[in-house]
């Protein structure tokens, strides 16, 4: 049997008063959890954000006007939940504004130098400011287009393009410098 499209699934949930909601949850749960986990870098916080995301999706599904945009709608809810947690953890910091400052954390890199290249890249990703990190996650892992990312983040396509370029360049340079240090050891 062919799987339902997002539009068909939303229509079915509306007709059966939410009894097919589990199907929607299972379709998106791993992607939403992975997005929250990579953004928050904390399993319990990622689980809380994912849970709240699906509760909100369940409550507000009748407000979704274009069922074809279900995916971006779910990710924009997940983004709000993740940033709510980030603001709770670091209330004084300005998190959502793209600035020239790309790095979030200057934690010592010595401990990652001994790791594999892909682990070093992952570590560098986790050090990016959340606003750059989320755009890279949405592009590289969720493979969303610039216009979809712009809709989720409340930004513009050109801002997404520019942020992706800066984030990639910054990570590329950092990884290169770590690997050079590794070669010298």
């Amino acid at each position: 049997m062919q799987a339902l499209t997002d539009e068909q699934l939303v229509e079915r949930i509306r007709i059966d008063q939410g009894r097919s909601f589990a199907q929607l949850y299972h379709r998106y749960k791993h992607r939403v959890y992975a997005y929250c986990y990579r953004l928050l870098r904390h399993p319990q916080n990622a689980e809380d954000a994912t849970q709240e995301t699906f509760i909100k999706v369940h409550r507000s599904l009748h407000q979704l006007e274009d069922a074809a945009s279900l995916q971006t709608w779910i990710f924009s809810i997940a983004r709000n939940e993740a940033f709510t947690i980030l603001r709770r953890v670091r209330p004084t910091e300005e998190l959502e504004k793209a600035t020239e400052e790309i790095w979030d954390d200057d934690s010592p890199l010595e401990r990652v130098v001994k790791q594999e290249r892909s682990e070093i890249v992952q570590h560098c990703l986790s050090l990016l400011r959340p606003v750059y990190r989320e755009i890279l996650i949405l592009r590289e892992y969720e493979q969303l287009s610039y216009s979809e990312i712009a809709r989720i983040t409340g930004s513009t396509e050109s801002a997404v393009k520019s942020a992706l370029f800066k984030a990639r360049k910054a990570i590329g340079r950092k990884v290169e410098s770590i690997l050079k240090g590794k070669d010298k050891q």
Binding site: I13, R14, I15, Q17, G18, F21, A22, Y25, H26, K29, H30, V32, Y33, A34, Y37, R38, P43, A46, E47, T50, Q51, F54, I55, H58, R59, L61, H62, R117, S118, E119, V121, Q122, L125, L136, R139, E140, Y141, S145, Y146, K161, S162, L164, F165, R168, K169, I171, G172, V175, E176
Partner: protein
């Protein structure tokens, strides 16, 4: 265009977000610029390195939490708008099918009750000036 600008185009190229015209200009530049070719190599390496890690998976406990909470919440998820109405001084919202059902029950109920109170009434009218009336008049 500077190399920095071309590097931004490189990033858009691997995302398939560059139009044909810009892509052609970029390829022409790449063929002559080793620095931008290195930049292309870097973003492609970064992409494959990021994908090497296993994605984190949602736990079964999360399934239980979410599905229990959403099943417990008898929220109205349909696309039909609830009907707003006033009951005494409070404004309440109920879904349209329920409002329609209540209205039908009230109409049928009032008809059934009124038929219990009224008995058969027969009125004979003859050509005579006398009128005979049978039945109960309250």
């Amino acid at each position: 265009m500077t190399c920095d600008m071309y590097e931004e185009q490189v990033s858009a190229l691997i995302d398939n977000e560059l139009n044909e015209e810009d892509a052609e200009l970029l390829f022409r530049h790449l063929s002559a610029c080793p620095s931008c070719r290195r930049s292309l190599r870097t973003v492609l390496d970064l992409r494959s390195d990021l994908k090497e890690q296993e994605p984190p998976l949602a736990s079964m406990e999360l399934d239980e939490k979410v599905l229990r909470r959403t099943a417990g919440e008898k929220r109205y998820v349909g696309n039909r708008k609830p009907m707003a109405m006033r009951v005494w001084k409070r404004r309440i919202s109920i879904p349209m099918p329920i409002a329609a059902a209540i209205t039908i029950v009230l109409i049928v109920g009032s008809v059934a009750l009124s038929s219990l109170w009224t008995k058969t009434q027969t009125i004979y009218i003859t050509t005579l000036p006398m009128v005979e009336v049978k039945g109960y008049f309250p």
